[in-house]
């Protein structure tokens, strides 16, 4: 499923943002529809099992070559510390070399307000989320795609990719 970016005119008219609500295990998240270039079945992506250089990058499960770009597929369950994720879908992220494995899409929704993450949240989660949205009296965290892989993470992963590729094997990128 290809997603078209929202036009500036549409944005100005509505003063709102389209978001994809998705699940990882029991947890509902939101991500800007503009940030997602493509949604694919995890079974349909061919890539390699990632050989991660550091334990904190074990969230990177697969490496996929898309044209000239190397895209790193991140397990959303590991990223957010949620056990028993099913990882059936992959969000290929626009303008980023990261993709996110999620369990399921819940629905699309439009939001006019993004609430700040309260300041008492003071650790890594400040990089994970752009903020919070309220939908049907529920609070849903809005994932910041830029927080999935830092520049340092990418440099490490790239360096590892360019190292001699011993024992790499092509696999179906399902979780």
């Amino acid at each position: 499923m290809k997603l078209k970016p929202q036009t500036t005119a549409t944005r100005r008219a509505r003063r709102s943002e389209q978001m994809i609500l998705f699940r990882i295990a029991h947890q509902l998240f939101a991500i800007s529809a503009n940030a997602v270039q493509e949604v694919r079945s995890a079974d349909g992506m061919t890539g390699r099992i990632a050989e991660v250089p550091r334990a904190e990058l074990r969230k990177v499960r697969h490496v996929v070559q898309r044209g000239e770009r190397t895209v790193y597929v991140i397990d959303g369950g590991i990223q957010f510390g949620i056990p028993a994720a099913q990882s059936a879908l992959v969000f290929v992220l626009r303008d980023l070399r990261a993709a996110l494995l999620v369990d399921a899409i819940d629905r699309m929704a439009s939001f006019t307000a993004l609430h700040a993450l309260p300041e008492a949240f003071c650790h890594e989660e400040r990089g994970w989320y752009r903020g919070l949205v309220i939908l049907d009296s529920n609070v849903i965290p809005v994932v910041d795609p830029r927080g999935l892989l830092s520049r340092g993470d990418l440099e490490l992963l790239d360096a590892n990719e360019h190292a001699p590729a011993a024992n790499r094997r092509e696999v179906r990128a399902s979780a």
Binding site: E17, T112, A116, E119, A120, P141
Partner: protein, 159 residues
């Protein structure tokens, strides 16, 4: 109480956490509100339980009992909405309490060196010496937040 000591006295809210009593400066208390649903999502700040919605705003819920009384508060009945000064701006935080809250006027003796940073001083009430808490050193705050929306009220969704 002399005229001078009346001027020096400030209002404090007494709260009970397990078997201990603590005080917070009343000027740092915005409201005492009934319990409401706490929304939880993945995060790495163990002092924060989740968030609640109050008048369209999203507030963090922080149980200070584990730090002060060594275990989570059992019989919570209300939230004390207390104002904590973060680097960016003051922000209300919901602190679960038992409901045994009392407003008193007292003179505080400031804490001297060697006390935990969250102890601002002491007041005397009904023959007891009660710690006055410093929320800014009790409730955690962030370092720089590169990707997050600036704290505060809802913003337009799009930059």
């Amino acid at each position: 109480m002399t005229e001078r000591s009346e001027l020096d006295a400030q209002s404090y809210v007494l709260l009970r956490l397990e078997d201990r009593q603590f005080a917070l400066p009343a000027k740092r208390i915005a409201e005492l509100v009934p319990l409401s649903r706490v929304f939880r999502f993945p995060h790495c700040s163990p002092e924060v339980e989740g968030v609640l919605i109050r008048r369209g705003r999203i507030l963090a819920v922080c149980d200070i009992s584990p730090r002060l009384a060594a275990r989570p508060l059992k019989n919570r009945r209300l939230y004390l909405l207390a104002v904590r000064d973060f680097a960016a701006r003051p922000e209300s935080v919901a602190v679960p309490v038992t409901g045994e809250c009392e407003l008193i006027s007292a003179e505080m003796t400031p804490a001297t060196g060697g006390q935990p940073p969250h102890v601002r001083g002491w007041i005397s009430h009904d023959g007891n010496v009660i710690e006055v808490l410093d929320l800014d050193n009790l409730i955690p705050g962030p370092t720089a937040a590169p990707n997050a929306v600036q704290a505060g009220v809802p913003q337009e969704a799009l930059p």
